[in-house]
Chain length 308, copies 2
């Protein structure tokens, strides 16, 4: 019964200070103070595209559905406040599946102090679809946008890249704490998270900023998974290829002026390592530069939904 | 190409005053002033459950996907600000379908001054799924909740009920303007919209308010569609049965103290007629009362997702 399930949900979700009214009315009410700026993002995950339900613990799917949204809030340097979960559940076993999905959702929601404040629970004859809309608040330092990179800014990244399909695309840590810390203590010009692929997402950030980006390919931090997946597949793709195009790394790309970037790299203020992988340039497009200074175009690669 | 489609979307969506940043970054930024209370709701519609794609103009589906959310905002007496649209599109013909869905979304968004400020566009091998999350602001009179009805309050409704399946479930007018007007000019104790069924939703409102509700069945305004569908089906369900249980009427149920309710009914301040259909009572549960004063239990009926 949907009603029983909603009662179960209600008892599992204790509204936080900012949630005036959670599950149970026609809509939720969130209370914001201060800046009055609210950040909103939404992501939909589908069986067969973003996960394989028959090969995966539903708790990991639930976790991922919220985590990708938290990563988007991190990309804006916003503090998570609330999340809204819509489910299209297969009829057979839907109730049990819903509870397992929510176990994963609750765990990461608690970790990032995000209130599950509402949603819409449905069943149908199709495969599992889960949509999360997440809402965050902007800190006193304002939001971090894609559009502020300037030529000469260094390209900094958190963590390592490539091969996330091996497991990290489920178990990654959304860089919420990292983004909030960096935004508070450093002067960041622009930022985003890497969901579709390092080269593709970097090219998007550069485009939004009206500039180009020049990568030092040898400086890109390779994930051990990038090496492992290249060894497994033996399809001619190198670990670097995987780092540039795999996506779902959910690390941050930042644009920081050189002096500030040097200070940041020296301090290494996060538990995850930060690296310089190149710099923004006036010439539009994505480029690589060799140690001898030779510049070549790089074709941005990554995940794009192919609409026909 | 997803990118081309997002460019198309971006050009079609002009951010309003309250949308600081719309489509194109990792998330949208909304600017709220005044009360600092934000109302959030979300609804997912699925092919085969909420509509039949092969028998329906996608513009009507797009319209409905936003309209049901606007109805939830109306139920809270909130003013719509922004909407976020997630799509799981069938691969074949997905781009054309997306554009047609958005034609319907844009039309009603414009009518209700709602900005389409973001979303997530995907394609897959499954049927169409469309999720909308909508955000509104609370007016100076505060939100309208389900929990404020008091025994003795009259049960008022807008419009008529039953038979929405004939066409009104696509073409209904979300009662946004009506709710805002009533909340501003009258003292309302509680309210909600009728999505799942008049008797079921009324019983929910009564329960949230810690009281019961007593219906005067002969006073329930029957939609011409309720009569038409009863004549069509000849399955023993009367027009009243349809009015009580069909759902998707998207009219308002309100709890108003008797003197104020009389004033409201005399004034009839809306373009849609308002009617008294009973009163809230101290005894929990849903009841009908005959003209001779006899009270009988009414079984709440309506649409519930059957989770198994």
């Amino acid at each position: 019964m949907e009603r029983d399930f909603i009662e179960w949900l209600r008892q599992r979700t204790q509204p936080t200070r900012e949630v005036g009214l959670g599950i149970g009315d026609d809509a939720a009410i969130l209370k914001f103070s201060g800046q009055g700026q609210v950040v909103v993002t939404t992501d939909m995950l589908m069986d067969g595209v973003d996960f394989q339900l028959d090969r995966c613990d539903p708790r990991r799917i639930g976790r991922k559905a919220l985590a990708v949204n938290l990563s988007d809030l991190a990309a804006m340097a916003a503090r998570p406040v609330a999340a809204f979960v819509s489910l299209a559940l297969p009829r057979e076993g839907g109730l049990q599946l819903a509870k397992e999905l929510y176990e994963g959702l609750f765990a990461i929601a608690e970790e990032f102090e995000t209130n599950i404040a509402g949603g819409d629970t449905n069943s149908w004859n199709g495969p599992l679809v889960i949509n999360v809309a997440a809402i965050g608040s902007v800190t006193e330092r304002g939001p971090l946008l894609r559009s502020g990179a300037k030529p000469g800014d260094w390209i900094l990244v958190t963590g390592t890249f490539g091969g996330s399909l091996l497991s990290r695309h489920f178990d990654f840590t959304p860089r919420v704490r990292e983004a909030l810390h960096l935004q508070e203590h450093f002067e960041l010009h622009a930022g985003m998270d890497v969901s579709d692929g390092l080269s593709l997402d970097l090219s998007r950030l550069a485009k939004e900023s009206g500039c180009g980006a020049e990568l030092e390919l040898s400086a890109i931090p390779l994930s051990p998974d990038a090496v492992a997946i290249a060894n497994q597949n033996r399809d001619g793709m190198s670990p670097l290829d995987h780092a540039l195009g795999d996506g779902e790394d959910f690390e941050l790309i930042l644009a920081v002026a050189p002096a500030e970037a040097r200070r940041l790299l020296d301090l290494q203020p996060l538990t995850v390592k930060m690296s310089r992988i190149g710099e923004f340039v006036a010439t539009p497009g994505l480029w690589s530069v060799s140690e001898s200074g030779e510049r070549r175009p790089v074709v941005p690669r990554g995940y794009e939904h192919n609409l026909q």
